[in-house]
């Protein structure tokens, strides 16, 4: 076997427990997804029917192509829904376990907050807060490491995009203070 001195080992103490109870079954999510897709098809079909899905003297109207696509999507959704309702085998298969959902939310909620903050504080301050906060509270990394990494990352991003490549990002009060 391999010699132990050149091994790379990374641990994941917060890893989701494989025995964690299921939050929702795969079958329920399947059914929900098909219902949403079906509703969307009906909505889009209606909208395109209103726009005009027939033939004008110069060719198909604006709604023609999308209307038939909505019909196709609707039909495929109904078919999928039928299969999902019919199939009882493996019905208790898990879509996501409680532990898994917790981990997904650990990324999703901060990302949502980050997007919100970007509107008020600008991209770079929000990015500093996201990186530092995530490293500290989700990753349990030492505070100084988190703050330092976040600061270096945000400044590097600012220099790369706004200064070097002229790609302008949303700015907040802090950037205004420095005259950007």
């Amino acid at each position: 076997m391999a010699t132990s001195d050149n091994e790379i080992i990374v641990d994941d103490p917060d890893a989701p427990d494989s025995a964690s109870p299921s939050v929702v079954s795969a079958r329920s999510v399947n059914i929900a997804v098909y219902l949403v897709l079906l509703a969307l098809s009906v909505l889009l079909a209606y909208d395109n029917w209103q726009t005009g899905m027939g033939w004008a003297p110069e060719g198909p109207e604006a709604g023609y192509f999308p209307f038939y696509l909505s019909v196709m999507m609707g039909a495929a959704s109904i078919y999928g829904l039928g299969i999902a309702l019919w199939q009882t085998a493996g019905a208790d298969e898990s879509f996501v376990s409680r532990d898994q959902l917790r981990r997904v939310m650990q990324v999703f909620v901060p990302t949502l907050l980050f997007c919100l903050l970007t509107q008020w504080l600008g991209m770079y301050v929000a990015s500093f807060l996201l990186v530092a906060g995530f490293m500290r509270f989700v990753g349990h990394i030492a505070l100084w490491k988190s703050l330092l990494t976040a600061a270096i990352f945000s400044i590097a991003m600012f220099v790369t995009f706004d200064v070097a490549f002229d790609v302008i990002m949303p700015k907040g009060p802090l950037e205004a203070f420095f005259g950007y």
Partner: protein, 507 residues
Amino acid sequence: MEAFGLLFHGFTVLLTGKTLVLMVVGLVLGIFVGVLPGLGGPNGVAILLPLTFTMDPTSAIVMLSCIYWGALFGGAITSILFNIPGEAWSVATTFDGYPMAQQGRAAEALTAAFTSSFIGSLTAVLLITFLAPGIASFALRFGPPEFFAVYLLTFCSFVGLGREDKHKTIISMALGLLLAGVGMDTVSGTLRMTFGLNELLRGINFLVAVIGLFGISEILLTMEERLALRGHAASISLRVVLKVWRELPRYTMTLVRSSVIGCWLGITPGGAIAASFMGYNLAKRFSKDKESFGKGRIEGVFAPETAAHASGTAALLPMLALGIPGSGTAAILLGGLMVWGLNPGPLLFVEHKDFVWGLIASMYLGNVVGLVIVLTTVPIFAAILRVPFAAIAPMIVVSCAIGAFAIQNAMFDIWLMLLFGVVGYVFKKVGIPLAPFTLALVLGSRTEDAFRLSMIGAEGDLRVFWSNWLVGSITTLAIVLLFWPAIGAVLTRARTLLWPARGGSAA
């Protein structure tokens, strides 16, 4: 040979200091992206696309395609050292690559992987060099009906040849085409599917959707899994490289077979994943010593890697010649072309010679430089995996947001990206494939335009799609492919012979 002259011209375009620097930067970023968990070829290219917005198209495509080559190389590192396939097409590489690493032959396995990647790509690039100009000049004769037929062929082959459930592929494709139609209708100027939202007037940007679907959703999926890993550090010495290269001629047949499979599956939307498995299984089937596969046989690394890379590279052929991407990443590169103001399609070879031949030349040079970089820097990249995911995840999120915002300078796009992230997460878990969606979104408006222009030309007569032998045969082929599963049922027996692993359940 005209191609040689043009290729030579391509190299002169390329050999400026700035382009070479961009190439190396692209390759390093790409390997980085390929090694990191939760990032891969399409995500990496999508996230890094905004960096290229202010560049000239040639520099931009050179850098982006190098990110792609880099990601292809990078996927092999984690497969062999950690038994974690960075990409789905690296799964087959782990079968023999990881056992080799366990036996202390990691350096050999890595050299084999990188070398065969290089050989696979090179074969596909040669194919592109000599075939693409011909196909493009042939396609110059195409009118709207022919183009619509080709688009139809692409979509039908996805439904007919894809391994996913047919209705799921259809949903994914129809949704993509529908979302591509949101906003101002390009033919009549009518607004549609905007529901009174001003932000939707511009339509739904392809790249924003891709960043959400591949970037954000991938982070969510990665977090769900156990992130612990255990593997081997390895460095490659020149002695090992030469040893592997000396053995290479013995595996000529494997390499040739895998290259051919890869090129074929790359051009048709079969993809690199299918190619790598097929390459592996065929190598095993034709081997005299079947038992030794899966226990650390070097041939088991050569075969899937060559096929995956030949396929990944060949996917660019239809993109360059016809404007039809052969893979998800090619679709994103195509999205990039449009951002830089180029019109994808056969005219590219006529109107933007510098661009096309610069790109093709960069495929040669990028693969050579990439091979040298990965062979020399493996230890550094393997060490990246020590960086905790808690530090990497938020940085990827920020990069995605920057990318989404930069495309149209719209905050709305950041929210749209988040929405697509959730959609991508659910779709992946439910089993709705994302590749047809991506393809439909990028080809949507051109497909519709081609259809409507044909209809206007033919005054609404659908027989226009069978009006001459060319368009007629493409349309017929499309319909045959759509119903391929029914036709293919007859050929199932042949298939079980090709995939002994799958047919094994019956045996």
